[in-house]
């Protein structure tokens, strides 16, 4: 039995004539301990897919099975790292994490909860900033708080929705390593949604492209057979890496072209010629 299973998922927004099918016929299985990345263009329905899996929305058709049972609403077993951090600006770093921990472990005493908060804030090396508010932190630091908040609840599966999308390349690289480190420690199942193919290859065991929406569906999967821990610089010279990377990019480019050529909208331009100013004044 697969750990997470998506069977024939369809998701439609709106009703009647104005209905748009965002996702169609999505099938996906993730095994326990696996790190899967889904890559796709912006606007291809990635966030909708994530929200289906974490239980924020329900599919129009089909079923999402988590450990064999259908997903009904959100759960502490699936931790989510949102695209835009979604920290509460009126709480400090510590309070943001504490709120999550308190919900996840309602039976623990306050000191135990504070210990967990301290542990995870330390893990993302933000202990000096624990009493600061999100607006005093840089983008990378905010995302680290979001990571700490998701992981402090000790979820069995981590769902990341373009977690590093808004960060600069250097911070991105550091955070990728940090996330991999944390994942490597207790091998939780992880699902990463990204628009960066390199990021996917560097981090995941398997990459699945999402064909752009409307009617987005999953493409063929690409296995990444690179030894962990992976080294970014060495990876660039690895023949296997190059091959996979080219294959994925080619695939994505092809769907991009296909989408362009498939466009049925024709723009009829009106027949206009410039006004004759010169003759007017003769």
């Amino acid at each position: 039995m697969a750990y997470l299973e998506l069977n024939n998922i369809y998701k439609t927004y709106g009703q009647g004539d104005s209905a748009t099918e965002v996702l169609s016929n999505i099938n996906l299985t993730i095994e326990e301990g696996e790190f899967v990345a889904i890559v796709g263009f912006t606007g291809s329905g990635k966030t909708t897919l994530v929200n289906l899996i974490n239980g924020l929305i329900e599919p129009t058709k089909g079923e999402v099975l988590f450990k064999g049972a259908p997903v009904q609403g959100t759960s502490h077993e699936r931790g989510v790292i949102f695209q835009n951090y979604s920290l509460l600006p009126w709480l400090t770093v510590g309070q943001n994490v504490f709120m999550a921990v308190k919900e996840a472990f309602p039976k623990k005493s306050k000191t135990e909860l504070n210990d967990i908060v301290a542990e995870y804030v330390e893990m993302v090396s933000l202990t000096p900033a624990i009493n600061k508010r999100p607006k005093e932190l840089s983008g990378g630091m905010r995302q680290r708080v979001a990571v700490a908040r998701a992981l402090a609840m000790k979820p069995e599966m981590i769902i990341m929705d373009e977690p590093l999308g808004a960060l600069d390349a250097l911070t991105r690289g550091n955070l990728q390593d940090e996330i991999l480190n944390i994942w490597g420690k207790d091998k939780r199942t992880a699902l990463l949604i990204t628009n960066d193919v390199d990021e996917g290859i560097y981090m995941a065991d398997r990459i699945i492209p999402l064909r752009p929406g409307p009617n987005a569906t999953l493409g063929p999967e690409f296995k990444i057979d690179l030894e962990r821990p992976r080294d970014k610089t060495e990876m660039n010279d690895n023949a296997n890496f190059k091959e996979t990377r080219n294959a994925i990019i080619e695939y994505l480019m092809d769907i991009g072209d296909e989408r362009k050529s498939k466009s049925t909208v024709e723009y009829v331009l009106p027949e206009l010629s410039p006004k004759d100013f010169v003759n007017q004044f003769k």
């Binding site: 835009n84 951090y85 509460l88």
Partner: protein, 368 residues
């Protein structure tokens, strides 16, 4: 250095930034760069105030002349040349009995202001003397279980200001305690929203006068048999009911339009309803709630005058009305003094709310 920095911060925070510029000028710390800002922020407002007073002075003078000429002409046609000459001489002599009744000039208003202050000092002294005189007697009366004797003399202008402020704050608190909780419930539940919407839409535009009459009808019946002075109760309830709508609508809107990201966080963390409201919904709608409260306070202050006038509650509104009815020589000037006092207090109340708002709510632009 450090002190002026904190002063600058504090005044800027309160929306009174020009004060720190003024201080910099007197301590000689203003450099050339700031001089333009100083000109714009301090000199220009002062110049416009002077211009306003000048225009007012000239306008009052010409109105005075029109009124005086009209009076003299009327005397001429009604009573003949002799009476007209007598009146002209009387007006020129400045005797109070025959002065034309029109818009007072700035200097008259200033004189009235000083006379009101003098009046206040006299009454305050009188009151202090009274309290001193009755102190011993009151002690024995309290020991005997009797009510102490209180000062029942005429309230001074300053007393009336404080009475008005008391009424406004009582009304404001009433509005706060009704509108914020109701607004939260309406904002949280679409069902309640549609249940209350007609109510809000219909009662929001009702005039203060009508609110007063409504409250009067109810309070009069409730207080039947008691000989307590109900004017304060009636006026503060009316003020509260008139002014609470802005807070109600803003709170409901703030609560129902919380950023979707925060709601998603609350869902993913599986926060309970109580936690969700107090940790996510309320903090995120605080800026809008405070905008509503700010409007509520200024509306409360604005309708207060009309309501005090109707309720015969001895505050600024009643002062204005009584001076108008009084028709004494300096009544018009006193009304203008009251007008400025009302305006300045309204401005200060607004600043007070702005300060509290800046203090409690997070900056929306820095969110996420």
């Amino acid at each position: 250095m450090k002190q002026s920095l904190t002063l600058g911060k504090v005044t800027k925070f309160m929306g009174l930034g020009f004060l720190s510029t003024l201080k910099d000028l007197f301590t000689g710390k203003l450099d050339k760069e700031d001089f333009k800002t100083f000109l714009r922020k301090t000199v220009v407002p002062i110049a416009s105030i002077l211009l306003f007073i000048g225009l007012w002075h000239m306008g009052a003078k010409s109105l005075y002349n029109i009124e005086a000429n009209h009076k003299i002409e009327k005397a001429l046609t009604d009573q003949g040349q002799e009476a007209a000459d007598a009146l002209r001489a009387c007006i020129a002599s400045g005797e109070s009995g025959c002065q034309p009744n029109t818009l007072p000039s700035p200097s008259q208003v200033w004189d009235s202001y000083k006379s009101l202050l003098r009046d206040h000092n006299i009454i305050a002294a009188d009151k202090a003397a009274f309290i001193e005189k009755t102190a011993a007697l009151n002690e024995t009366r309290i020991a005997q279980g009797l009510d102490p004797i209180t000062y029942t003399g005429r309230p001074s202008f300053v007393d009336q200001i404080f009475r008005s402020l008391k009424t406004v704050f009582a009304g404001f608190l009433l509005a706060l305690f009704i509108a914020v909780p109701v607004g939260i419930f309406i904002g949280l539940s679409p069902t309640l929203k549609s249940a209350f919407n007609w109510f809000i839409q219909i009662f929001k535009p009702v005039s203060p006068v009508v609110w007063y009459l409504l409250v009067f009808m109810i309070v009069k019946t409730l207080l039947i048999g008691s000989n307590e002075d109900s004017s304060f109760t009636i006026s503060f309830i009316s003020v509260g009911l008139c002014s609470m709508w802005a807070t109600l609508v803003n709170t409901a809107m703030g609560v129902s339009s919380v950023d979707k990201d925060y709601i998603n966080v609350a869902k993913v963390l599986k926060l309970g309803n109580f936690q969700k409201i107090f940790k996510v919904v309320l903090p995120s709608s605080l800026p809008l709630i405070f905008t509503g409260l700010k409007i509520t306070l200024s509306v409360a202050w604005m309708v207060l005058i009309a309501i005090e006038l109707l309720a015969q509650s001895p505050g600024l509104g009643l002062f204005v009305w009584e001076e108008f009815q009084n028709g004494a020589n300096d009544s018009n000037a006193k009304i203008i003094v009251a007008m400025f006092v009302i305006g300045i207090i309204g401005f200060l109340l607004d600043r007070l709310m702005l300060t509290i708002q800046n203090w409690v709510s997070f900056d929306k632009t820095d969110a996420i």
